[in-house]
Symmetry: none
Subunit: 209 residues, 4 copies
Amino acid sequence: MAPTKAPDSSRRSDRSRRAIHDAALALVTEVGYRRTTIEGIAARAGVGKQTIYRWWPSKAAVLMDAFLDLAGRAAEEVGAGPGETAPGIPDTGDLVADLKLVLRATVDELNDPTLEAPTRALTAEGVVDAKLGAEFVHKLLDPQLALYVTRLRAAQEAGDVRADVDPRIALELLIGPLMHRWLLRTLPLTHAYADEIVDYAIGGLAPRT
Amino acid sequence: MAPTKAPDSSRRSDRSRRAIHDAALALVTEVGYRRTTIEGIAARAGVGKQTIYRWWPSKAAVLMDAFLDLAGRAAEEVGAGPGETAPGIPDTGDLVADLKLVLRATVDELNDPTLEAPTRALTAEGVVDAKLGAEFVHKLLDPQLALYVTRLRAAQEAGDVRADVDPRIALELLIGPLMHRWLLRTLPLTHAYADEIVDYAIGGLAPRT
Amino acid sequence: MAPTKAPDSSRRSDRSRRAIHDAALALVTEVGYRRTTIEGIAARAGVGKQTIYRWWPSKAAVLMDAFLDLAGRAAEEVGAGPGETAPGIPDTGDLVADLKLVLRATVDELNDPTLEAPTRALTAEGVVDAKLGAEFVHKLLDPQLALYVTRLRAAQEAGDVRADVDPRIALELLIGPLMHRWLLRTLPLTHAYADEIVDYAIGGLAPRT
Amino acid sequence: MAPTKAPDSSRRSDRSRRAIHDAALALVTEVGYRRTTIEGIAARAGVGKQTIYRWWPSKAAVLMDAFLDLAGRAAEEVGAGPGETAPGIPDTGDLVADLKLVLRATVDELNDPTLEAPTRALTAEGVVDAKLGAEFVHKLLDPQLALYVTRLRAAQEAGDVRADVDPRIALELLIGPLMHRWLLRTLPLTHAYADEIVDYAIGGLAPRT
DNA sequence: TGATAACCGAGACGGTACGTCCTGTCTTGAG
DNA sequence: CTCAAGACAGGACGTACCGTCTCGGTTATCA
């Protein structure tokens, strides 16, 4: 039952970890997830294969960590410093405007060519592998969605959203269509589309006049 | 341009084609998409590998065809005969009831353990491989979504939906959240959820009183 | 037990037979025996694979026939007409001169770049496959060697070779060294070498003075 | 020029090397060279195919090494120890008797059922593949033939062989007929035949009385 | 003068082996 | 101990041929 041998994480080489992250992201972007191999990552990172196998259970796990790291560094740049986390959804009092702002930002993120390949790869892997999907949702998606819940609860208190609306469902009404278009590439994902989604959805969430 | 040599499809063995479809679906369901191999499909189908490579460019393409075949056969059973296509969305005059019926059916389909594995596999593959994704959308998804468009246009004419609403977007407001839950497995996918989605979405689509 | 189906050789297409022979010889010369395939011969000859399998049991058998045909045609050119066979060893009364003449001709034949590839291929195949080797010896080698036997018997009657010498062995004393050099490529195969072999061998065959 | 990547031979597994040798020899003896496959050798040796491809360029090369190893081990058993090489041709003063002894031993070796299959396979391969043939001659044949040269030179000094005789050619006069019979299977290869060859050949080599 | 049987070209089929690539484990030597 | 390097057993890849079979389309006897 014991996991054979637990590596001593205090002695872990940070240099290698970073190099592996970078190599993984670069390869996924360059040649695609399928053709990215552990051997390839190791070679590119100038690292022994064992160093990868020692610390990660699978290619997907490497990419997930790399992606988390990337997201963390991106957040640091935007926020004030390393202590801060995601900036949250603004509350200007105008719910529709606030949501449009955030959804437009999400659209931009999804359209960012740097992030696209790894995000798609991880999402796809999660669709098929429940364990990995759960990790993906828990580590990457949930924190994002929690922000929506917070903002929507505030809107409920302000009377902009009906009290009987479940914020989890309301949020999916906003995010679902976006993801649908992005994942299936049915139609282009634009700011205009984000705005329309907000307009339509709010109609179903706002108090009946 | 021409891919080296086009096989003569009139000589194609129907027996082999069917056996390959069956083997592919069975293996994907039993051991998962990842561990399903072309060699495995060939062995299970009692077929030479070359017979697969002759007619399909990839494992995903085999599964796609197998799935299409399965869907076609299922449709034939439900419909009156081979001439008929998908049954369409009923139009009882009660838009909300009609949509709930169809969304509940979609929920049941997504929860069907027989269909789950291949559907997830194909969707995931399409998320990463744009070409395959386009084929998936075009062959499987679009026909489904066209039915919604038809029903929603009828509703617009009946005055149940505002005339300025784009049916493509309205449809995504309904389907998007469902797919989001199913793909990411954030929360269970139930009839109650389908009903709520319809209730919320209709609020944004119906005429302002 | 019955050989499935005996093809009717009277309806055999001579055009195909010739085309197959030519293709086989050309391919063996161009790409070597190993890389010559039945499919390749069929394609080059503009012939269906079955036409080869109908008339020959193996690649080696095709080559053997092709070679026999080639040898036959070459013999026809040299000889007066189609009725004649190999010209035989001359009997000028000078045994040593006659043998040198023939051995030099053999050396030239073995060094002929057109014949080399197929001859080596057939010989090598015969070394490993006893059945084919026997056929090779019977159809190609024995007729040649019989000529030596005839000439040597004449020499015995003329008193140039001891009466107790077995002509089969005498002949191997002459041919063996030649083949050894040619097969193993230990040293170059020249007219001078042929002459020396005859000189040495005759010493062991001629009557003790 | 460099063949892509040279493996580190100091890390080479001796266990695998031996297992591959044994498997190769066993399979060639059991099912013949043609039906011996690299996959078969790997499976029999309990080895990955790559381990064969890493160290040998072809099936023939594997067999060559295996054969060399076998010959080496056999020589060690006969000789005093690992330092010794082949035992050489005895020099009792009686040239004819010495040669008959050695030729009889060669006959026995060629008739040995254990050695026959691999020897034939390698010889045949060498007949067709010049590079491999050269290796075969250089590594296996030349050392043997050098022994004859030594003995024949001694005979020349002792006056048993004429001084103007080229030992290389004399040796081929002895070995050639043997090889001819063995390779082409024209007639059985016996001790009596070996004796006759020596008798005849010596007639051509000994000083004229 | 058709029928009808073969050979023929073509090439799909079930298979086997190829030689390559990658997986995940294990071993070696340097730091 | 970790690490870079890479050999190892294993297994799937996609390709090339094998030898068999089936399909029209010519021939070339026989009824």
